[in-house]
């Protein structure tokens, strides 16, 4: 227990330092007094006794110091002294301290936030058991049929299937609302390895059609729509007019397949329904690798199974179907779109951090050079070099510590804002500071600091104080070169950031100037949905749409009402495989795929889509009339380049009715501003009246309203006669367009923000260095002026230095950007990865800014009065 006692003593030495000091003093004074008394007893006079006792005793202070040393806590006390000293020093130069702390805080905070986000989105393991075993298929293997075959025949992987993003109308206590739901095979919970928090998941028998229907709801839905009612199990909910029994509540973290999914139902499996089995239901497979199975074996099995699935389709599938379908980890697939963006942003913020560290290093270096004489004096007075160095390091540590705490505060402030800045990223729930990201960022910061500040300091330090006496005259070239190349490095990184931001700005400019083919200022769009009873037959459906049109058209402010099955630029798929006249396909070749849209006669004028030839739809294009279609200009070009499109016919692969092309309209960007997916061969429009959802399908239509009206007014109009109809997402078409490029926009703004901060910090760095160089060279400039140099030539000297640094930085930055812009490739549109304009504009902005930053020191140099300078010598 001796160590314990010793530890206690050490702690006491630190905590009760004052008391111990007093005791030590008292003890020594007591000793002195006793000795004196002793001498007096030996018949000395009081004065003599005092003198002799003191002489024997020696220097009190030195003795006390020796006693103190015995406590072995000296180094801690030194550290505290250093820290106190450092804080005092930093407070004496508040400008420097503020600049350094703010720079560190911004750089560190931005990086902590972005790296935490990147880690949590890209690498944080999914919350399922053994998430690495979860697999998806990259490729077009989807559908109830293929998924069912995989489920039944695969041995290496247990496959389940899910239909993501099924929007359904739910009726809950009166009001109708739109819910985001997913349908899934019963074994999905088993494959994912999850259990409901309450109740149970589906069972196998509940997949069959005809059984009573069950649903599992999300924690959020339970909380918000059922007020956390513990008796929710067994309650009924109407989904598209069919009653479902709630049998389970999922845990709060369960957001499969996407955030915002509120309800899961089993797929309804009817082996007799060919269109359900092999049609357009995109049931996506997700599987779990069997225990001990390997990816290679699973991949081989998948390739084999695809060969067996292809001939099972009731119609001939292209020979290329499913070739090259590859297994990917679920996590990889989930974030594949977000990856390049996050990597680009993380790299950009790392650049910013390095620029920030460079700035702080420069500040430190400048400060240190200013204090070189102070240190030389202190060294001459006996301070050890190690001790001085330790004090410098302590000062940097204090600075880094304060900056670090401020940086964490900045990061904590940024994290809640980030999901709003990058709303298109997946897995943004529960963002928090990530310790791993923090370690990485601190490591990067430490490395940068270490290299950029300690190395030159050590060098100057070890080169020694001998040059100090001459330091007044000229500064040795080395630190100057060090700080200038440091500034060049910062400018290089800023250049790379500027080029990246420039590429994104050009992309966005291009996207904003894409002619979407729609000229419809003031057109509002919304999704209107209703239960299947409204469209039990095509005739009822038609009447329903007519009634809705009349009701909504009667609302004050609405000038026209038109319908289609889709809204442009929301990326909802609406494709149809067709046979095209004059273009027979050989057996085994894929069919042509057309983007399939329904439209009312007023649709084209309302959206400002001009007619190129033929005619538009009219009210007489009814179900009983000749089936007709309108195609887009480029579709006509693609199939009938000689201009003979009118009168040709098109037929769905799965249907028998040939539609006659009656008109050709201008091209419209229906899928995205960047164009259609490569597998789309063209666009066809058919009259809504000839393509009503029938046979008890759920109604979902896009409405287009000319006029000015609010969602509340429209909903109010619907409530009276159509309480079961849900109108959702009312927005101007322009906003839909803007939001379709939100991911690029957010990337551009974030990159631009980082780039401008980089530019700002970089030019502050240049300004600082040049100002400091100027201060050191005032005398030289004075002499030059005295010897006949013109003020202009002196200013040019300063500017030239800035120009050289900026130009070299630009060259390095351009080289870095050439390598790095590949990470932006997937985000670019209409701009080459090595776009000349961006690669020129970045450096130009940088050089101009650097010259502006240099202008002030340059002007000051020109205004130096040689007489004053020389007199000061």
């Amino acid at each position: 227990m001796l160590w314990w006692r010793r530890l206690q003593l050490r702690i006491r030495s630190l905590t009760e330092r004052d008391r111990l000091e007093r005791e030590l003093d008292q003890e020594l004074v007591f000793h002195l007094a006793e000795q004196k008394a002793d001498y007096e007893r030996q018949a000395m006079t009081a004065a003599e006794a005092e003198f002799r006792a003191r002489r024997e005793f020696g220097a009190l202070g030195s003795l006390a110091e020796q006693c103190r040393d015995q406590r072995h806590t000296r180094w801690i006390e030194d550290l505290l002294t250093d820290a106190r000293f450092a804080i005092r020093g930093l407070r004496q130069s508040p400008g420097f301290t503020w600049a350094a702390v703010a720079t560190i805080a911004l750089g560190l905070g931005a990086n902590l936030a972005l790296f935490s986000t990147a880690y949590r989105v890209l690498f944080r393991p999914l919350p399922y058991a053994d998430p690495d075993q979860l697999l998806e298929i990259a490729g077009p293997i989807a559908g109830v049929g293929p998924a069912t075959v995989l489920r039944q025949m695969a041995k290496q992987v247990e496959w389940a299937g899910y239909l993501p993003n099924v929007e359904r109308n739910a009726q809950l206590g009166g009001g109708a609302l739109r819910l985001r739901t997913a349908a899934a095979t019963w074994n999905l919970a088993g494959v994912l390895g999850v259990q409901p928090a309450m109740g149970r998941w589906f069972e196998e028998r509940e997949e069959s059609a005809g059984r009573h229907r069950v649903a599992v709801i999300s924690q959020r839905m339970w909380r918000e729509r059922f007020s956390s009612d513990p008796g929710v199990l067994g309650r009924r909910i109407l989904l598209d007019e069919e009653p479902y029994e709630i049998i389970g509540v999922m845990p709060a973290w369960f957001t499969f397949p996407a955030a915002g999914t509120e309800l899961w139902v089993p797929i309804r499996y009817d082996p007799a329904d060919i269109s359900y089995l092999w049609g357009s239901y995109n049931l996506l497979p997700i599987g779990r690798l069997s225990n001990g199975g390997s990816m290679e074996a699973a991949q081989a099995e998948l390739s084999g199974l695809i060969q067996r699935i292809r001939p099972m389709f009731p119609w001939r599938m292209p020979d290329q179907w499913g070739v090259g379908a590859a297994l990917v980890r679920h996590q990889t697939a989930l974030v594949s779109n977000a990856r390049p963006k996050l990597i680009a942003l993380a790299a950009a913020s790392l650049f910013l951090l390095i620029i920030a560290c460079g700035n702080v290093s420069n500040l430190l270096l400048a400060r240190w050079i200013r204090r070189e004489r102070e240190f030389a004096t202190r060294e001459a007075l006996g301070a050890g070099r190690g001790r001085l160095l330790r004090q410098l390091v302590t000062e940097n540590l204090v600075l880094a510590g304060v900056g670090g705490v401020a940086g964490i505060a900045v990061a904590l402030g940024l994290l809640p804002v980030l999901p709003g800045l990058v709303p298109d990223l997946p897995r943004l729930d529960g963002l928090a500071l990530e310790p791993r990201a923090a370690v990485l960022v601190l490591f990067a910061m430490g490395m940068t600091f270490g290299v950029l500040s300690l190395v030159p300091m050590f060098r100057t330090f070890l080169l020694g104080a001998r040059s100090v006496s001459t330091a007044r005259m000229t500064l040795s070239r080395r630190p100057a070169r060090v700080s200038l190349s440091l500034a060049g490095f910062q400018l290089a990184l800023a250049t790379a950031l500027l080029i990246g931001a420039g590429l994104m700005a050009r992309t966005l400019w291009r996207l904003d100037n894409v002619d979407s083919g729609i000229r419809a200022p003031g057109v509002l769009t919304a999704t209107v949905s209703a239960g299947p009873s409204r469209c039990a037959t095509a005739a009822r459906c038609r009447a329903f749409v007519e009634d809705l049109t009349a009701t909504l058209g009667g609302v004050a402010g609405v000038q026209s009402v038109n319908w289609s099955n889709g809204t442009p630029l929301v990326k909802r798929q609406s494709a149809m495989s067709v046979a095209v006249q004059d273009h027979p396909r050989p057996p085994g070749a894929p069919a042509f795929v057309l983007w399939h849209l329904t439209a009312t006669p007023g649709y084209f004028p309302a959206l400002g889509i001009p007619l190129r030839s033929g005619r538009l739809f009219t009210e007489s294009d009814t179900a009983r009339a000749l089936p007709v279609a309108i195609i887009s200009e480029s579709t006509a070009q693609r199939f009938w380049p000689d201009g003979s499109a009118i009168g040709k016919t098109i037929r769905p692969v799965s249907g028998k009715v040939w539609r006659t092309v009656v008109g050709v309209v201008a091209d419209v960007a229906h899928y995205s501003l960047a164009g259609f997916p490569s597998w789309v061969d063209g666009v066809q429009y058919v009259p809504l009246n000839q393509s009503m959802p029938g046979s008890g399908n759920v109604v979902q239509l896009s409405i287009f309203l000319q006029g000015a009206v609010t969602a509340g007014v429209l909903e109010g109009a619907l409530r009276k006669s159509f309480p079961d109809v849900v109108l959702s997402g009312l927005a101007p078409l322009q906003r839909v367009r803007r939001e379709s490029v939100a991911d690029r926009r957010s990337t551009m703004w974030l990159l631009s923000g980082l780039a401008s901060m980089g530019l700002l910090l970089g030019s502050v760095g240049v300004y600082g260095i040049l100002t400091q160089r100027f201060a050191q060279r005032t005398r030289e400039i004075g002499i030059r002026l005295a010897l006949g140099a013109t003020t202009g030539s002196v200013a040019v000297t300063v500017l030239r230095e800035a120009l050289v640094v900026a130009a070299m930085g630009s060259v390095v930055g351009i080289s870095a950007a050439i390598v790095l812009t590949r990470y932006l490739r997937s985000l670019l549109f209409g701009v080459a990865e090595h776009d000349l304009a961006a690669f020129l504009a970045g450096p130009v902005v940088l050089i101009v800014t650097a010259l502006l930053a240099a202008a002030l020191p340059g002007l000051r140099a020109a205004r130096v009065d040689p007489a004053t300078v020389l007199r000061a010598e």
Binding site: S13, Q26, L63, C67
Partner: protein, 109 residues
């Protein structure tokens, strides 16, 4: 403040431990007692005494308490801890072995 050359390295610790082994003693009295008992041969300088006392205290062998002396002044009295007693026994043993060994060599020669 050099250490007394006539005191073997490490011996001072032994002398202090021994001196305070009977009763708590304050610093000045420790020096005085060593001086008296050794017939004025061993002079313990303050410069050695106090650092030694602080060292011993920090090693946990002796402890101190502040109380009044007979003359009515406040002083720090040192006494042995349990570990200190063990240490004293150990050092005494070492000292006896060393001094008898030295004695043997000296007589032989």
């Amino acid at each position: 403040m050099g250490k007394p050359s006539d005191l073997l390295q490490g011996t001072l610790d032994l002398l202090i431990l021994k001196t305070i082994s009977l009763e708590p003693v304050h610093g000045w009295a420790i020096a005085k007692r060593i001086q008296q008992v050794s017939n004025e041969v061993l002079l313990v300088q303050q410069g050695s005494l106090y650092p030694a006392l602080y060292r011993l205290e920090n090693q946990g062998w002796i402890q101190s308490e502040t109380r009044e002396t007979e003359s009515g002044r406040v002083a720090k009295f040192y006494s042995l801890t349990r570990e200190g007693r063990k240490q004293l026994a150990k050092e005494l043993g070492q000292w006896e072995r060393l001094s008898s060994a030295v004695g043997l060599v000296v007589k032989q020669a």
